[in-house]
């Protein structure tokens, strides 16, 4: 059984017990425990079930590489799935449940998959679920959804109760990893005066040296003290280097109070760091060995076993068998023995056995078997014994050794993730059987120089003395590359380990047959076995990237930290090629999963995206505005009165406006000032119409196209004076069109004297619309002349309207007598209030965007985004009158000369009038005779705008119909999604006041 030892445990404080809940059970641990160590101390070796076969799984590792021990953590707004027990620090009240089982961890129905495993081989999704097609929807998908998946998805209605933040940081040298290599590299770099940041994902400094021995007594404590005393050094624990990106950009993920939820402040902080140089001192990860039953709870990495003993005073078992292909695992045997527990056997796959450490183990009376292997581990929910065989053979069992834990070591792989994220290349080190960074091919910065270097074990320097020297050199090199004068530090004098070399063991035993290979796990989390990778290779998956996706090897939340090297070695072996020829899959950030909320940072709720408000916003809000988002603006869709529906409100607003007087807040319209001696010439290029001939004091409706000929924006252009134009754009188009103008001015016609300013927010604008609009403006008084002749249709004047500094445009989007009045934004609300008061006697009615849309549709006016979708040219919309024939050039003119745009064989704008007066559904298509290649009805047009017109008391619509204008009077069919076929007659698009008498009064 696993239990708490009487002594030891550097990290725990035995005077401070902590209570937590696991699957509803109350358990005890100590402050300083991780969830994993506390569960082990309570003899809870089995921690979850596997993804595919629902096999019982226990903890394998002690750090962030852990694949098995994942838990649902917390409740309600604090719930989070897939939390690793090995990196979860224990706190009072912690509550977790195990994942991926039903009905319980101990008894699980899904384990039936385990017995059907031979019917679920690699790629079984692709093979099994192809035919018959309907079975996917009704049988396979529901089955897979029920049985697959790790943690539970958080409830979609529950909001995360915590807060998160982003933090920007700049440093000359950033060191990722706070083991002895990282600390030494940081110190050497900092001695040069460079600004240094060092981060460690663990709560403790020192890394593996705290378990396996420091360079000298108190080394880590001394180094940490020295660094803390330097003003140019920033130190952060519980912070992971998540990813390295172009030109020295680095993401740091700091977990501020996962370990102490009672503290105030943000939970996670995402550090967005710009580093001159990056040193990755990220250490190495131990590899599992591939023998049958290597996933049974109790089989653990050798390094993890001694971590639990030394750091937490926890023993994974009373009798720990050790299996290895290298000297390092002997340290575990020695630690287990020193803790007073039994090591029944050390199984060393190397025929020649180990070096100095092996001698020490033998000296302690531990039995060592060289050239041997584990044929099989027995046990279900817990290891019972190991069956030994010869490593060179096929697995004939020589003897069975009883034990309740197995410590395995297949060698160590440097953590090269951060080096590789941004393009650093790797070399295969034959002697050490590992990929390590190729320092001649680092990731490059903007100057073409390397900006990442690795230090210590991460660089392949597994020996402590060599690692320290490597780290010192990395610190010096990084500081110099960042522009500082650096020199090396004085290092402790260390003798080199006299370890015997590792011998790669990718399969155990070497000649393991199919039965053993089917129980030898590579990827614990995704349940990928040796036999799966071999099958993929036999089926032709030669590329490691393809094999990964076919077998799902390395695709789980641990991204194959334990499995990738073993998997690609098996693949290489099966393909009969060298490991470097197979290569690795791509390392991508983040190193371990980071919370989505930390990526969002503060951008949530109200400040997710700032809302733009007009000066009249508060009035709308107080008067029943039913809001509609338009770009970043909020505009009233309509104003609700009493119990009426939005539809009723829109009809009321239209009737009132057409009968007497309506007010529209038009402040959101884009307002660009184009000024300069060449302004007219410039606008002639931007608009399809001629703008240079516009007289000061006059307005003209204009169209803008892209260089590809398609309609992009429209609006009224006003000539303010000889040199200045005011270009109105659509609400959503102001910034885009401003950018469009700047682009052409700066990059094509840079010698033209034109200046553009976006004055959208400097002006508030009110549409004063309806037969009584002139009367209400005249009531306000002032010195402006807005009489019929004083300000004719499409005229502009400015001056005092009452007390306001007004620009008045007589333009009519609703087809009534109407004016748009613009005043400085600061006067906007006062103008609105004045119009409201003055309009009372006329029954003034504010109207929203929907009434505006319906009224313009009644007049047959187009709307950018309704009648246009980026594939429509002005000619399609019958807007030939707005295209100058005199101009030699405008943006889009050449494109419109192309034959298919000149052709009449296009969908063109017409009005549509339903035969029975009903409203055609939005987005409906007009069907034609016959079917297309997919067996769908052919189409001959579509609706672009469709409304109920209260003015005409019937449905009206506009649409693009194949050769529409030639087919007036024809009735075509628009099938709705409700099964109804809407029959509509093709008519002229102007439904209301075709002669324009209403606006010319």
């Amino acid at each position: 059984m696993s239990t708490r030892l009487a002594n030891g445990g550097r990290r725990i404080d035995r005077t401070r017990p902590v209570e937590f809940r696991f699957n509803g059970k109350r358990l005890k641990g100590f402050e300083g425990d991780t969830l994993a160590s506390a569960l082990l101390a309570n003899d809870q070796m089995m921690m979850g079930r596997s993804f595919k076969y629902h096999r019982p799984r226990g903890v394998v590792a002690s750090g962030s590489e852990e694949p098995n021990a994942l838990f649902n953590m917390g409740e309600g707004g604090k719930f989070e799935p897939n939390q690793r027990a090995t990196t979860t620090e224990l706190f009072d009240g912690l509550s977790v449940t195990s994942q991926n089982h039903w009905p319980s961890l101990e008894f699980d129905v899904g384990v039936l998959n385990n017995y059907a495993a031979r019917f679920l081989p690699a790629g079984f999704y692709y093979k099994t679920f192809m035919f018959p097609r309907p079975a996917w929807k009704h049988v396979f998908e529901p089955f897979i959804r029920q049985s697959a998946g790790l943690g539970r998805a958080p409830d979609k209605e529950t909001l995360d109760a915590d807060t998160y933040e982003h933090f920007y940081f700049f440093a000359d040298v950033v060191v990722v990893g706070g083991g002895v290599a990282g600390l030494q590299a940081a110190k050497t770099a900092a001695l040069s005066g460079a600004k240094v940041l060092i981060m460690e994902q663990d709560p403790h400094w020192g890394g593996r040296a705290m378990v396996d021995g420091e360079p000298e007594e108190g080394f880590v404590q001394r180094l940490v003290g020295e660094l803390e005393g330097m003003d140019n050094v920033t130190m952060r624990r519980r912070m992971m280097g998540a990813g390295v990106y172009d030109h020295g950009y680095l993401l740091g993920y700091e977990r501020l109070r996962d370990h102490a939820p009672m503290l105030a402040g943000p939970r996670h902080r995402l550090w967005r760091i710009r580093a001159g140089q990056i040193i990755t001192a990220t250490g190495a990860i131990e590899r599992p060995l591939s023998f049958a039953g290597n996933d049974i709870p109790g089989v653990m990495l050798a390094g993890a076993v001694r971590d639990y003993i030394a750091e937490y005073g926890v023993s994974p078992g009373d009798r720990v068998a050790v299996v290895t292909n290298n000297d390092d695992a002997y340290r575990t045997a020695i630690a287990v023995k020193k803790a007073g527990l039994e090591v029944p056997v050390i199984v060393d796959a190397r025929a020649g056995g180990g070096g100095e450490l092996a001698r020490e183990a033998r000296g302690m009376g531990i039995r060592v078997e060289n050239g041997k292997a584990i044929a099989k581990v027995t046990g279900g929910k817990r290891v019972k014994s190991v069956k030994l065989c010869a490593q060179a053979g096929e697995g004939a069992v020589l003897e069975e050794v009883a034990c309740d834990a197995v410590a395995m070591s297949g060698g160590w792989s440097p953590v090269v993730h951060l080096w590789s994220h941004c393009g650093g290349k790797l070399v295969w080190d034959e002697a050490e059987a590992m990929f390590r960074p190729d320092e001649s091919r680092p990731p490059l910065n903007q100057n073409g120089a390397g900006f990442v270097r690795c230090a210590g074990a991460a660089n392949g320097a597994l020996d402590l003395g060599a690692g320290l020297a490597d780290a010192d050199a990395a610190g010096k090199g990084a500081a110099e590359a960042a522009g500082f004068k650096a020199r090396g530090d004085t290092l402790p004098d260390l003798a080199q380990d006299d370890a015997l070399p590792i011998e790669p063991v990718w399969m155990m035993p070497q000649g393991a047959g199919p039965k053993l290979r089917m129980k030898a796990w590579l990827d614990y989390q995704n349940d990928v076995k040796v036999s799966d990778v071999q099958l993929a290779a036999r089926e032709g998956y030669e590329s490691v990237e393809h094999t990964k996706r076919y077998t799902t090897l390395g695709m789980a939340t641990d991204q194959g930290k334990l499995s990738n090297i073993n998997g690609l070695a098996i693949l290489s072996d099966t393909l009969g090629q060298a490991i470097p020829q197979t290569g690795t899959t791509t390392f991508r950030p983040p190193y371990t999963p980071i919370s989505m909320a930390s990526i969002a940072g503060e951008a949530r709720g109200e400040i997710f995206q700032p809302v733009r408000r007009t000066p009249m916003h508060a009035w709308h809000e107080a008067n029943g505005a039913h809001w509609e988002p338009v770009g970043h603006w909020r505009r009233p869709y309509c104003y609700l009165k009493g119990e009426e529906t939005p539809h009723e409100a829109v009809s009321r607003e239209i009737r009132a406006t057409r009968a007497s007087l309506g007010l529209l807040d038009a402040s959101t319209l884009g307002k660009l000032i184009v000024k300069g001696p060449d302004a007219g010439k410039f606008l002639d290029m931007l608009y399809t119409n001629m703008m240079s001939t516009l007289k000061p004091g006059r307005c003209r409706y204009g169209l803008m196209c892209s260089e590809n000929g398609f309609l992009s924006d429209d609006g009224v252009v006003v000539r303010l004076d000889e040199d200045s134009f005011l270009c109105h754009t659509t609400t959503g188009g102001a910034e885009r069109i401003h950018g469009h103008m700047e682009e052409w001015l700066q990059t094509e016609w840079w010698d033209w004297q034109v200046h553009v300013v976006n004055a959208t927010e400097q002006w508030a604008q009110v549409g004063v619309v309806g037969p009584n609009s002139r009367k209400v403006l005249e009531k306000l008084g002032g010195d402006v002349d807005i009489s019929k002749d004083g300000l004719s249709f499409m005229g502009y004047t400015s001056g005092k309207l009452g007390e306001f500094d007004a620009r008045i445009f007589r333009i009519a989007f609703a087809g009534e007598l109407s004016y748009e009045v613009a005043v400085p934004a600061s006067q906007g609300r006062a103008l609105w209030d004045a119009l409201w008061d003055a309009g009372e006697e006329f029954g003034v009615t504010p109207y929203g965007t929907e009434a505006m849309h319906v009224m313009r549709a009644e007049k047959g006016f187009i709307m950018i985004g309704d009648e246009t979708d980026g594939t429509v040219i002005p000619q399609d919309l019958g807007l030939h009158w707005a295209i100058s024939k005199k101009k030699e050039d405008y943006i889009g003119k050449r494109a419109q000369e192309r034959t298919f745009m000149q052709s009449s064989d296009r969908w063109q704008l017409v009005g549509l009038e339903t035969v029975d007066g009903s409203v055609i559904p939005d987005g409906a298509y007009a069907v034609a005779e016959g079917e297309n290649a997919n067996g769908q009805r052919n189409v001959q047009g579509r609706v672009t705008s469709t409304y109920y017109s209260p003015t005409l008391d019937r449905g009206i619509a506009m649409g693009l119909v194949h050769k529409g204008p030639e087919r007036m009077g024809e009735v075509i069919d628009f099938p709705g999604t409700d099964g109804t076929i809407y029959k509509a007659k093709i008519v002229d698009a102007v439904f209301y006041d075709p002669e324009g008498e209403k606006q010319n009064v």
Binding site: R274, L444, Q746, W750, D889
Partner: protein
């Protein structure tokens, strides 16, 4: 997250301050031009593995367009220069030549 220098305001900033605008030094073909010329101008783009000349705008800064000479493989920046020019200035060409001898891009080398 590239680091670029705006030649107009002199600011060295990171990519979030800027916005890419595609290939530089396009020659506009207007009304009356041949179909192939217009097609090349509007649609055909260089896609080099190596030296590339491209347009950027300092959109969250001074607002100016400029050109950047960059390696699409290593993301190395050779230099940035004014957008108001028909070809890269000699010092930019020299900077590219120093790192990528024998380079060529469209008609430039």
């Amino acid at each position: 997250m590239l680091i670029l220098e705006c030649p107009c305001c002199g600011v060295t900033g990171e990519e979030t301050e800027f916005h890419g605008g595609g290939e530089a030094h396009l020659k506009r073909f207007g009304p009356g031009s041949a179909d192939t010329d217009f097609e090349n101008y509007l649609f055909m783009r260089e896609n080099p593995k190596g030296v590339h000349l491209e347009r950027w705008r300092h959109v969250n800064g001074c607002g100016k367009w400029f050109h950047v000479a960059r390696c699409t493989v290593t993301l190395e920046i050779f230099g940035s220069y004014s957008a108001q020019t028909l070809e890269p200035p000699q010092e930019i060409k020299d900077a590219i030549s120093a790192k990528r001898p024998g380079w060529s891009w469209r008609d430039f080398s």
